[in-house]
Symmetry: C2
Subunit: 241 residues, 2 copies
DNA sequence: CCTGTTACCGAACAGCGTTTATTTAATGTC
DNA sequence: GACATTAAATAAACGCTGTTCGGTAACAGG
């Protein structure tokens, strides 16, 4: 949409009159490119992340990027992986602050929501946008990179973390019975629904905290067995940073 | 991504050597354009819906479309509106088959899920894709068309339908107390999460019905007051058509 | 110092959404 | 039936996009 622009805030990086070209090691360039892409992405969303914009920032031509990345998608994938890493670290960190396993789960879910809301563009990229061609390198897929078939996607790790907790809770009778896999999916769906909902209607003036608490209360009231002492209680929001 | 094509299955519509141009009434052309766009959309998702492809199908040039639609987004919006209409009609129809208000709500939610899963591309378009520039003509926004400021978006109607049911249920004490608006959002989030989850991982081999039932059970167990006779029961799936 | 390797550039291709000036078909009105 | 008006259509262009290709030049090892 070349009409509604506001795109050209991208710095020309005119590196002098002489196009004296500097070679960098692939490792360095790779990092430069990812960082430039991430910066553009955070500034104006996916729309700003074009090969030419990235190249302009790095100070090379767009064609040079293909020396380091197979695709534009490969760059986005790198960004997504970084986001997942944050998601995992935040979730684990928050979770480990709690001793009670139910509280642990709640904290982890809260952490997920908070990360999602604090990095809306990345969340959308990973979970809400079917990036045209983002070749399904998602939660349940392996990365297509021929070079790294060992390392699974961070998304799988993040999801396995949730699955494990749910499995343990059901195993020890703290959560209602049911196929742990299915319950885990259901839990994730409920949480994702909240984040997705808020991100889709960013303009809508609702009280986020109230909505989040309501959702968590409903979710855990539905999950916990009838006599559980945790029923009806809502985990307090984590202290604002 | 001009590389991995498979795009050119779009029929050239070369209407003879003579470019004898036929004028059609705006109403007719408008329908033609929407239908062409919808067809392309269903065939290959958003990627195939380009102004040039639409025009080729209709048998006009791409510029002519702008006589009938302000934007590409306006075309997508029209598709979305049609989808919402289906969502509303299906939901209401299914709902009205039930007498018990709780069962009514369950049926409506089931209807929503089924429509979403049966029309994945449209669901993604409306609820999961931040169409670049889809100028936030979403659930909570009015359409920007200057010509029709009276008619609100179908999305608002659909959502109001859910809100009303939740409000009534809370009012009559059948659902746990809480701000009806917030509870309605939470319910929608849970349901949307399920659809979104399944659509995002279409390849993942899970039992959909089981996942849907689990989610609905958890949701309603969380919503219903402790002594409610409906607790723990799951509404049976609607008979396959 | 010479020689490979390869990171990089310049130019191009095909597609995209959109705009402009221009043509031409259809529809009144006399 | 002839003429003026209206607006649906066109052709061509603009600037953007992702990607490819042939050549160049910078660095590394000998």
């Amino acid at each position: 949409m070349p009409t509604k622009s506001a795109k050209k805030a991208v710095e020309t990086a005119d590196r002098g009159v002489k196009p004296v070209r500097r070679r960098l090691s692939p490792a360095e360039r790779r990092i430069q490119i990812i960082e430039a892409a991430r910066a553009l992405f955070c500034e104006g969303g996916l729309a700003l992340v074009s090969m030419r914009n990235i190249a302009r920032r790095v100070g090379i031509t767009q064609a040079a990027i293909y020396q380091h990345f197979e695709d534009k998608d490969a760059i986005l994938f790198a960004i997504a992986e970084e986001f997942f890493t944050r998601l995992i670290e935040d979730g684990m960190e928050k979770s480990n602050e709690e001793a009670d396993p139910i509280a642990r789960l709640k904290r982890g879910l809260r952490g997920y929501i908070e990360v999602g809301l604090s990095r809306p563009d990345e969340y959308r990229l990973v979970f809400m946008t079917n990036v045209p061609g983002f070749k399904r390198r998602g939660m349940h897929r392996v990365p297509p990179g021929e070079e790294a078939p060992v390392e699974l996607t961070k998304g799988k790790i993040a999801y396995a973390f949730l699955q494990e907790q749910v499995r343990d809770l059901i195993g020890s009778g703290l959560l209602c019975k049911g196929d742990p896999e299915v319950v885990a999916e259901a839990v994730w769906a409920a949480i994702h629904g909240i984040v997705s909902l808020i991100l889709t209607h960013l303009d809508f003036p609702w009280a986020r905290e109230e909505l989040i608490e309501t959702q968590l209360r409903i979710l855990f009231d539905g999950l916990l067995p009838d006599g559980s002492p945790s029923r009806g209680k809502v985990q307090a929001a984590s202290p604002k940073a």
